[in-house]
């Protein structure tokens, strides 16, 4: 894994920590800052399966860190009701796959509750979950489902790649007065990066240019950003191709302007995502660039995505299912060469 290129304000004091620790810091800071911030989820009292909530039960007690039965639909709904009535719940869905068990609350209820309030209440609920492949999860523990939350309107959706963004985006999410979902990646939890200490909020809707380049733009979010950074390194060293890497950080709102700006100068783009391509964020980005960069693109936008079939368990199959750094490199070369 290449080093994190996240551009953190130089002035901020930072500490090296894992993505999981960065999330933990965001939670504990926000819980100290606002007594209404309340965690709800399965096995979070003991620290959570990925250690993100470690220590919080000890510090804040069982009324702020609420362990639930295995009843996702029920506790997501309870959290939403609590958000109407003055709490600021942060719900952990252990795997994004389990969001489907609570899909009615997540997609029929929460996104509609403010429309129906006639402006009489805020809805400061944050869903935290994690997704993606990290090896052998099988078809029900490996999915990337962000496109569902983007398609059905109602949530602001963040997918942090760097540890710093994990902290900063989760902090913003908790402070927002509308429903937010922070989709973490299970393969990133124990990756380290420089994370600002203290108060640190990264606004939703602002992509980050992690590497400047002139020949082709690589656009991604979440773990796919890592592939792009590796690909960019490789493209530069091996082929002398200069790739710009953009981490979208949030897909709702989608900072298409930053991508457009980049494509205006590179004239070529590859969109990379772990999820299958069909009717996805990658499709959306390309559809928007098709219009907004009509005369800037000198070659069609490419996409590098997961396959549009369920994720199999066996390693060689899983590896084939996943987009690879090589796929990104190939797509970028093709794009550059056909300009």
């Amino acid at each position: 894994m290449v080093a994190s290129h996240t551009i953190v304000n130089e002035q901020l004091e930072t500490v090296t920590s894992t993505y999981a620790q960065a999330l933990n810091a965001a939670l504990s800071q926000e819980m100290r800052r606002d007594a209404r911030v309340t965690l709800i989820g399965e096995d979070i009292g003991i620290g959570g399966v990925y250690t993100v909530t470690q220590g919080l039960h000890d510090e804040f007690g069982e009324h702020r860190v609420i362990d639930t039965p295995i009843s996702e639909a029920g506790f997501v709904g309870i959290a939403a009701g609590a958000a109407v009535a003055g709490l600021r719940p942060v719900v952990e869905l252990m795997f994004a796959d389990f969001a489907l068990v609570a899909a009615d609350q997540l997609l029929n209820q929460i996104p509609k509750l403010q429309l129906l309030s006639a402006g009489r209440y805020d809805l400061p609920i944050t869903i935290r979950t994690q997704q993606g492949i990290s090896g052998g999860g099988g078809p029900q523990h490996s999915q990337s489902l962000e496109s569902l939350f983007a398609h059905v309107p109602g949530f602001a959706v963040a997918l942090p790649y760097s540890a710093a963004d994990a902290k900063g985006l989760l902090t913003s999410a908790i402070r927002m007065n509308e429903p937010t979902i922070v989709i973490e990646h299970k393969a990133l939890y124990f990756r380290r990066g420089e994370v600002p200490v203290g108060d640190y909020a990264v606004p939703f809707g602002q992509a980050a240019v992690l590497r400047h380049g002139t020949d082709v733009t690589l656009v991604a979010y979440s773990q796919a950003v890592g592939w792009c950074l590796q690909a960019a390194e490789f493209l530069a060293e091996r082929y002398g191709i200069s790739a710009e890497v953009i981490d979208l950080r949030t897909i709702v709102p989608l900072d298409i302007e930053s991508v457009v700006t980049s494509v205006r100068s590179t004239n070529a783009v590859v969109v990379v995502q772990e999820a299958g391509g069909m009717a996805s964020i990658a499709s959306e980005i390309i559809a928007q660039l098709h219009e907004k960069c009509w005369s800037d693109l000198l070659t069609p936008a490419r996409r590098v995505c997961g396959l549009d079939i369920p994720v199999p368990y066996s390693r060689p199959l899983e590896r084939y299912w996943l987009p690879s750094v090589q796929d990104v490199v190939d797509a970028a070369r093709e794009a550059v060469e056909s300009k």
Binding site: R36, H63, A73, F75, I78, A85, L113, L115, A118, Y121
Partner: protein, 311 residues
């Protein structure tokens, strides 16, 4: 109040026929005693959530007929600014959650309000009404479990009106009494005659007192009946008019009036109430029809700030 609801519902039928009201409308005529009885023991601190069969609860909890009519007609002055319509009535200034059009989905939302109330050390309980059909929805079971585990102040009110849409309730219940199912969550349950406002009131009073004292939830089943179809336009092939008539002999309004007369209230006073409610509802319907509908651009008002304003 029961008059107000009854008269509101009959007006709605008329307005729907005249195409002044859109979508599907679910009327509650026959069931008035449940909403009125329960709401009569609620305090201002209490929260309420109900279903698409919303009018009775909304009126009983103090939403004005004119803002309710206006909502049903999609007017800007509607209680939800026309965003929800008849199925989605709420008013958080009265701690009423938007009513829900997904069967049973409002139940966890209401329990969540109870969780917040408890967490924040505020007074008040949550009352959530749902139908007999909702009892088969898993999320109700999940919510009852958590309400019991966490001892949330929730009154679960099951309005057993004998039908879930077009299907007789008991065809879809594996046990003889719905209230008995609450035992699986360790929640105390009571039943009452939902065609008798005083019976509902006293059962609800006792249940609420228990919740306020112990903190934990109570389940209340009210046996009642809807006189209208499931929704406007329902041909009601699943029941006979004789059955409806049989239930009408237990009519909550008539029974209350009989009792009041027995207790010495003059007939005249009763018909005065009835007429004044009818007149007021009529006036409200007329006024609501005069209100403005929202302008298209107002659609963005209730949307999150980041929503893109393009197709």
């Amino acid at each position: 109040m029961m008059h107000r609801i009854r008269s509101f519902e009959s007006h709605c039928e008329r307005l729907f026929r005249d195409a002044k009201i859109d979508g599907a409308m679910h009327l509650c005529a026959g069931q008035e005693a449940v909403a009125v009885g329960v709401c009569s023991v609620m305090t201002d601190a209490d929260a309420l959530s109900f279903t698409y069969r919303s009018h009775g609860w909304a009126l009983a909890r103090g939403i004005s007929p004119v803002s309710l009519f206006a909502e049903c007609m999609g007017r800007r002055s509607g209680v939800s600014k026309g965003r929800g319509g008849s199925k989605h009535i709420g008013d958080w200034s009265r701690r009423i959650l938007p009513s829900n059009a997904i069967v049973a989905a409002g139940v966890p939302l209401a329990a969540g309000v109870a969780l917040a109330t408890k967490s924040l050390g505020e007074p008040g309980i949550s009352v959530v009404a749902f139908g007999d059909g909702a009892v088969n929805q898993g999320v109700l079971h999940e919510t009852m479990t958590m309400a019991a585990l966490w001892q949330l102040p929730v009154l679960f009110v099951c309005e057993n009106n004998q039908y879930a849409e077009l299907t007789p309730t008991m065809v879809m219940q594996p046990v003889a009494r719905i209230a008995d199912r609450a035992a699986a969550s360790g929640i105390p349950a009571v039943r009452c005659d939902g065609m008798d406002v005083e019976a509902v009131r006293s059962a609800a009073r006792e249940a609420c007192a228990r919740i306020r004292a112990d903190g934990g939830p109570v389940f209340l089943e009210a046996e009642t009946y809807r006189y209208s179809g499931h929704m406007t336009g329902d041909p009601q092939k699943y029941r006979t008019t004789e059955e409806v008539d049989r239930w009408r002999t237990r009519d909550a309004i008539a029974r209350l009036e009989d009792r009041l007369v027995e207790a010495g209230v003059p007939h005249g006073a009763l018909s005065e109430v009835r007429e004044s409610e009818t007149t007021a509802v009529e006036a409200a319907a007329i006024q609501a029809a005069l209100e403005e509908t929202p302008e298209p651009a107002e659609i963005w008002e209730s949307a999150p700030s980041w929503s893109r304003a393009t197709r």
